[in-house]
């Protein structure tokens, strides 16, 4: 078959250095659910030793979180995230798309519904029709689930123009077997919103940067640091104790993690969780598709949060925010889970 970019696939030397970084390998200890194992399966798909549509092969395409923790540790520089997108692009075509994903993808394309839902929940109001930017990406999931985040981002930087029109950048599509569609959506968004696009979602940032170029995209913490929007240091006040949850795509895809700490550190005392950099199990649609694994992946993190004795957990991605909030509440912890934008807005 011709599913994968041969140059990227050929680069893997099967050294196994990615195994310890992989959350699904940690759950199972099973080569087949490790990055190297999945790459062996991809090679098998290409040379015909396994079928792309074999249920056990499909299972591995689905069990992967797509967190890309296997990328920064890979000495050979294998772009695993790209290979996974290509895999799902073929494997989840048509009726093989997981049934739960379908309405989601349809909904995010259905921008009127999103816009109405978002408006009802009072996200930031889109600005004038043609604006040179910088633009604030209102997102699709976020606009409905966490409308307060975009308002908070505007409070942090009033110069940010909330983008008009459909908010979905297509990341969800690219990660769920609609690679071409996801890229087209990102390009359309890039045409509609000129200048820098600032996003409050790590997943969107990585996808947009991949399609539009890194220089067109800034994640909120990068933007705050770059524009000098850090609030002045306050003395004599009790600073909240705050844990941070990195965004996988932000950290592993774009290498963004330090600016989050700079921003949070300006207003709070950071308590690093040992697993701050590890996937929380939200992973886009993963928590919906595979609730059991998702819950197992977040369980140790919830214990760490309880032990850390923090007031807040700060996230930089709406999916993580939803996942952590649900898990923390379920565990009965008195910890608030907020978005970086909300933390920063509350401090001025």
């Amino acid at each position: 078959m011709n599913v994968f970019d041969p140059e990227v696939l050929g680069r893997c030397m099967s050294c196994g250095f990615c195994l310890p970084a992989c959350p699904t390998y940690a759950l199972t200890g099973d080569e087949a659910s490790s990055p190297r194992g999945r790459i062996t399966l991809m090679r098998g798909i290409e040379d015909g030793t396994v079928s792309l549509f074999d249920p056990a092969v499909q299972e591995q395409a689905s069990m992967c979180l797509g967190c890309r923790a296997c990328e920064p540790v890979c000495p050979a520089g294998v772009s695993y995230g790209l290979l996974l997108e290509q895999w799902r692009d073929t494997a989840w075509r048509g009726r093989d798309t997981p049934w739960l994903v379908r309405p989601l993808l349809a909904l995010t394309r259905h921008d009127l519904v999103l816009r109405v839902l978002g408006r009802l929940r009072r996200h930031a109001r889109p600005g004038p029709r043609r604006h040179p930017g910088p633009h604030l990406l209102l997102g699709c999931v976020e606009r409905v689930l966490f409308p307060g985040v975009s308002r908070a981002a505007r409070a942090v930087d009033p110069d940010l123009q909330p983008g008009r029109g459909p908010g979905c950048c297509g990341a969800l599509h690219a990660h769920n077997g609609r690679l071409g569609e996801g890229e087209a959506m990102a390009r359309a968004l890039g045409d509609r919103l000129p200048g820098t696009i600032v996003t409050t979602s790590g997943g969107c940032a990585a996808h947009l940067a991949g399609v539009l170029g890194r220089d067109r995209v800034a994640e909120l913490s990068e933007w705050i640091v770059r524009r000098g929007l850090l609030p002045p240091a306050r003395t004599g006040q009790a600073r909240p104790r705050v844990a941070i949850q990195d965004s996988c795509h932000l950290r592993n895809g774009l290498g963004v993690s330090a600016t989050i700490r700079t921003a949070v550190g300006a207003v709070a005392e950071i308590v690093e969780l040992p697993s701050a950099r590890d996937c929380c199990g939200a992973a886009g649609t993963y928590s919906l598709l595979r609730p059991r694994e998702s819950a197992r992946i977040i369980a140790p993190k919830v214990r760490e949060i309880a032990d850390a004795g923090v007031d807040l957990v700060v996230t930089v991605n709406p999916g993580c925010q939803r996942q952590l909030r649900t898990a923390v509440r379920r565990a009965g912890l008195e910890v608030e889970v907020v978005h970086l934008a909300e933390l920063m807005a509350g401090q001025r």
Partner: protein
């Protein structure tokens, strides 16, 4: 590769395996069998019939008994990072994965030892030792991934071999399951114990052909308080070789003496941009650990030795960050080379230390003859070198040329009084070469030993001892 001659894995075997370890830990689906068809060795590929992940010693023993009764091969597997196709199921059968047995059972400061299950990673053991102020010295490049079971079964080495030795020097005792399903305990916690043959040593490096390791006791040493590193560039490897000879001649046994040839320097520099001297013919990375004064003295001796041997430049690392950069240069050599072609074959031969420079020069001649790009790096201190070929894996002519190159390199190592593998093992990849390294009487003895441990011949057939 050898064909399948072994007993069939039929439904009855699968059912019995499921009864023994639980259905969840017995998998025969196409994806699982494909994923376990390979390890880190290029060009070797063979699917097992079934993959089993036992959780206890008793379960391991049960699996082996079932296999013995049905004549089914059992391939023990840790992280699958070996480079000699030692975990490729060339005869089909069962891959027995030790990854569920990953508990660190004990670190004893008083006795300076640790007891671990085989699936514990090398780094996990080293970290636990460090927390107790102790050091587990063997540090293979793969340590973040590789398991102690795999390290013991291959007698893994690393960057500290000269001063600290290799895995064999740290194994005090084992618990293991023989090919009959019997459980034995060899050695133990004692430093001195000569009651019986040294079966512990025999199991070290046995590549899963004599027994399946289920528990390992390792010795630890006090962690050295400081370490220091330096780097020297030479016009040729012969000059570097003279520096190494002078260091050893001065009575020094440093922790680190690693070299890169010109091809490796070039590859590392284009990949990592560490500011290496691209014009040099060889790079020597040296270092030592211990008390601060002792480290300073050792570094001074090595700097002088390099200068006297005509080094182009010598520097010592002023701080930890610089030292880390130097070590990174050595550690990223393989990936850096691998970026030059789709097929990377890392080999592993050892020669007597004084003949190292000669060996590297003649490897260069061989590579020019076959037209294959070969970089050489390795452990200058102990004579273990890693000629690494890069080629286009899709081109059969190039693959054949790589094979020819290594045939000649192995012969060269033997001619120089060396060996066909220093630390990576024999596995399926070098079995054909073993008779050129060992005489017939020894090979016959090895087969008899294997038969005593594994009368049914089910433990990792087609590898060492077959």
């Amino acid at each position: 590769m050898t064909g399948r001659t072994a007993g069939a894995v039929d439904e009855q075997v699968i059912d019995r395996l499921r009864d023994a370890v639980g259905a969840r830990w017995v998998r025969t689906d196409a994806a699982t069998r494909r994923a376990y068809a390979r390890d880190a060795t290029p060009l070797f590929d063979a699917e097992p019939d079934v993959v089993v992940q036992p959780g206890t010693t008793a379960e391991v023993a049960a699996v082996v008994r079932i296999a013995a009764a049905h004549g089914v091969p059992v391939v023990a597997r840790g992280a699958g990072t070996n480079l000699c196709a030692a975990t490729v199921a060339t005869h089909g059968g069962i891959v027995l994965s030790a990854t569920r047995m990953d508990r660190l059972l004990e670190v004893s400061e008083a006795e300076q030892l640790a007891v671990v299950q085989p699936g514990v990673t090398t780094t996990a053991l080293a970290t636990a030792a460090a927390a107790a102020g102790l050091l587990y010295p063997p540090d293979p490049g793969s340590r973040a991934v590789s398991t102690i079971g795999g390290n013991v079964a291959t007698c893994a080495g690393g960057l500290r071999g000269l001063k600290y030795g290799v895995t064999r020097n740290y194994v005090l005792g084992t618990e293991a399951v023989l090919g009959t399903g019997e459980i034995i305990r060899t050695g133990g916690r004692l430093v001195k114990d000569v009651a019986g043959y040294d079966l512990t040593r025999l199991l070290v490096g046995s590549e899963g052909t004599l027994a399946v390791l289920t528990e390992i006791t390792v010795a630890l040493v006090p962690a050295p308080p400081t370490a220091g590193y330096g780097v020297a560039y030479f016009d040729s490897l012969a000059d570097a070789g003279r520096a190494v000879a002078a260091v050893v001649g001065a009575g020094l046994v440093p922790a680190t003496l690693e070299f890169l040839d010109a091809t490796c320097i070039e590859a590392v520099e284009s990949h990592a941009g560490l500011g290496l001297d691209r014009g040099a013919g060889a790079l020597l990375l040296f270092g030592d650990d211990g008390a601060p004064a002792q480290v300073d003295a050792a570094l001074a001796t090595m700097v002088t030795a390099c200068r006297d041997a005509g080094a182009r430049a010598v520097t010592t690392a002023p701080d930890v960050a610089t030292a880390e950069d130097l070590l990174a240069a050595r550690r990223c050599t393989l990936p850096a080379l691998s970026r030059l072609g789709s097929l990377t074959v890392l080999e592993d031969v050892s020669v007597p230390r004084p003949r190292l420079a000669e060996a590297v020069a003649r490897i260069g001649d061989i590579a020019r003859g076959t037209g294959v790009r070969v970089g050489v790096f390795g452990h200058a201190g102990d004579g273990n070198l890693h000629p690494t070929a890069v080629a286009d894996g899709q081109d059969p002519a190039q693959v054949a040329a790589v094979h020819r190159t290594f045939e000649q390199i192995f012969q060269l190592a033997l001619d120089l009084g060396g060996t066909i593998t220093g630390e990576h093992g024999v596995g399926a990849a070098k079995l054909a070469w073993l008779p050129r390294r060992l005489d017939p009487a020894q090979l016959a003895l090895m087969r008899r030993l294997k038969a005593a441990f594994d009368p049914a011949g089910i433990l990792n057939p087609g590898k060492l001892g077959s």
